[in-house]
C-alpha cells in the first residue's frame, strides 16, 4: 500500500495572542507547526502501513522552512517526503495549490490512497483535499471518521455528516480527508528523529512535476484577496456575578428575560 499525505505548515495558533491596541494577531515569535488536522491523516497513514506494509510519502508545498514539517512527519513514522518549493508557487489559492499537489502526486505515481487533513487551521477552507481528488479524477470521501476495511482494490469508509454518519465504498486509488475522530496521533520518537535527519527530501519545482506555469501561483489562481481585516465583535457584554441567593435569582431572571426578549424560547 502506497499512501501520499499532503501536509501544510501553519502558524501555531492555539496560543494566539491578540494585540490589545490593534486587535490583530501577534505573529512575532509564533512557532510553525504541522497543521494539527494533518496529524490525524499522518497517523492513519502510518497505521495502515504498519498493518499491511507499504510506504507513506508526505508532501508539502511551501517555503524551505516547510522541510521541518516534513522531517517531523518522517520522525512520526512516514517513510519519505517531497517538498514543493519554488517562488513560482507563491500566491497560489486553493485551486492552484490543488493543481500543484495533484501534479506532484501524479509524479509520485502508483499510489493507493491520498489522505489529507480535513482543512488547515490557517486558511480554514477544506478545499484542497477535494480539489486534489478532482484534478486526479479520483473518488473522494471527506470528513472521514473511520476506515472500515480495505480489500481487493476497494475501501469502505465512514464519514461524519450532519446528524450522523454515512458509509461509502470507494474504488482505489482514492482520496480521503479525515477528521480528528479517525486517529490519535503519536509523538515523534527519538529513533524517528534520528532517521528523519538522514532522509533526503527532494525539492521539486514546476518543471519537475510538469505543471503549466499558467496554472500555478498568483497567475494561476482564480481568486484574489481584496482585503483582510479584524472582525469587530459588538456585543452588549452585560455581566452579572452570582454570590448569594438574591444575585442567583436575579441572574437566572436575567437569562429568562434575555431568552424571551430574543424570542429564543
Amino acid at each position: 500500500m502506497k499512501i501520499v499525505v499532503p501536509i501544510k505548515q501553519v502558524p501555531e495558533t492555539s496560543n494566539v495572542k491578540m494585540d490589545p491596541k490593534t486587535g490583530t494577531m501577534v505573529r512575532e515569535g509564533v512557532e510553525s507547526i504541522i497543521n494539527p488536522l494533518d496529524l490525524y491523516a499522518i497517523e492513519e497513514a502510518i497505521k495502515l502501513k504498519e498493518k499491511s506494509g507499504g510506504q507513506v510519502i508526505v508532501i508539502s508545498m511551501g517555503p524551505e522552512k516547510a522541510l521541518e514539517a516534513i522531517k517531523e512527519a518522517i520522525a512520526m513514522g512516514c517513510d519519505d517526503g517531497v517538498l514543493l518549493s519554488d517562488k513560482k508557487f507563491a500566491g497560489s489559492d486553493t485551486w492552484a495549490t490543488s493543481c500543484v499537489l495533484a501534479h506532484a502526486i501524479k509524479k509520485i505515481g502508483d499510489f493507493d490512497l491520498v489522505i489529507c487533513g480535513e482543512r488547515a487551521t490557517d486558511g480554514d477552507t477544506g478545499q484542497v483535499g477535494p480539489g486534489i481528488a478532482s484534478f486526479l479524477d479520483l473518488p473522494l470521501s471527506t470528513f472521514t471518521s473511520e476506515i472500515i476495511s480495505i480489500d481487493e482494490g476497494k475501501i469502505q469508509v465512514r464519514r461524519l455528516v450532519e446528524g450522523g454518519y454515512e458509509e461509502l465504498e470507494l474504488k482505489l486509488p482514492a482520496v480521503l480527508t479525515v477528521v480528528k475522530e479517525i486517529s490519535d496521533p503519536r509523538l515523534p520518537t527519538l529513533r524517528g528523529k534520528l532517521r528523519a535527519k538522514g532522509v533526503e527530501i527532494p525539492v521539486w519545482g514546476p518543471q519537475d512535476i510538469g505543471v503549466d506555469e499558467e496554472n500555478i501561483g498568483l497567475k494561476g489562481s482564480p481568486t484574489r484577496v481584496v482585503k483582510i481585516f479584524t472582525p469587530k465583535v459588538t456585543r452588549e457584554g452585560e455581566m452579572i456575578t452570582v454570590n448569594d441567593e438574591k444575585s442567583l435569582e436575579e441572574a437566572v431572571d436575567k437569562i429568562m428575560e434575555f431568552l424571551i426578549k430574543k424570542e429564543l424560547i
Binding site: W95, E167, V226, P231, E238, V242, V252
Partner: protein, 334 residues
Amino acid sequence: MGEVWTLAEFSHGKLSSVSNELLNRGKNLAEKLNTALASVVLGYNVKREYIDELIARGADKVYVVDDKNLENFLVEPYAKVLIALIKEYNPEIFLAAATTTGRTLMPYVAVKVRTGLTADCTVLDIEEGTGNLLQTRPAIGGNILATIKTPNTRPQMATVRPHSTKPALPDRNRTGEVIYKKFDEDVFLSKSKYLRFIKDESQQVSLQDAKIIVSGGRGLGRPENFKMIDELAELLGGAVGASREVVDRGWKPYPHQIGLSGKTVSPALYIAVGISGAIQHIAGMQTSENILAINKDPDAQIFKIANLGIVGDLNEILPLLIEKIKAYKKKEAV
C-alpha cells in the same frame, strides 16, 4: 448577464432550511445585478411541493435533475451534472451551503470548471463598478476576516456558512419556471458507492441545524453534570455541544465537539457552560448571533464575546434555570 444560482440541499428527503437561506442571499445579489435567481435541485423523486417552495421563496427558475442515481449524495455524479449545467447556462454566481455536501461538491466542481471558490462565507456583496461578487469569510480560526473576489472567471462560486443569514420568506403567489434536465447514464458513472446512513442517536438535534446550542466544558467538573446540559438543550429544542477538553476526556463523543478541530457553528443562541473560551473553541462559535456564558472565573475569555455573562457556580445556576424554563413553558402552554 448570467443568472445567480443556489444549490438546493436535501437532507433525508426534505428540503433543508439552508436552501432558503441561500435564496435570501441570492435574491439580494440577483437584484443588485438585475438578473434572475435560480435554484438547482439534484435528487430522486423530487416532490413538486419542494420546487414550489423554492419559487415561493424567491427562485425565478428551478433546474431539476431527477434521477435514481442522484438519490444519495455522491460527489462524482453530482459534480458531473453540475458541470454540464454550468457549461450550458453560464451562471454568473453559484452559491451552495457550507455543509458537508457543499464543502465536498463545490471544490470538486470549481477545479473542473477552472473558476474561483471561496469557502464558508459569512458576508456576500456586489462590488460597485465591476459587479464582482465580494465574498467575506473568517480565517485563522476567526481571528481575521478576508474579502475575496473572482475577477476573471465565471461562475463566481462560494459556500455560505449555515445560519449566517435568515431564510427567505415565502410568497405563495410567486410563479417561476421549472426546467427538467435529463442526462445519459454515463454521466452518473461513479467509482464510489453509497452504502448507508447511520443516525447518531446522541444528537437529538443536529448541531448544524440547531437554532440553539448548549455546550459544556471542563468547568462542569464531572461527566454526570452533562445531564444538566442535555436537559437544558432539550428544553430549548437545541443541540448539545462540547469543548475539546471534555471530548478528549470522553465525556461526550467527537461529533459534539465545537471548535478548530471540531465543528463550526453559528446558531441564534450559543450557551457556553463551564467553557473558558480557548481560542480553538471560540473559532468554532464566535459568529453565533447571541452568546450566553456561564463560568465561575470572571476572567474567562468566553466573557469577552458574550452578550450576557453570568459569573457563578453552574451547579446552582443550571438547576434554577431549568426550573424556571419549565415553569415558563408550562405557563405558556396554558
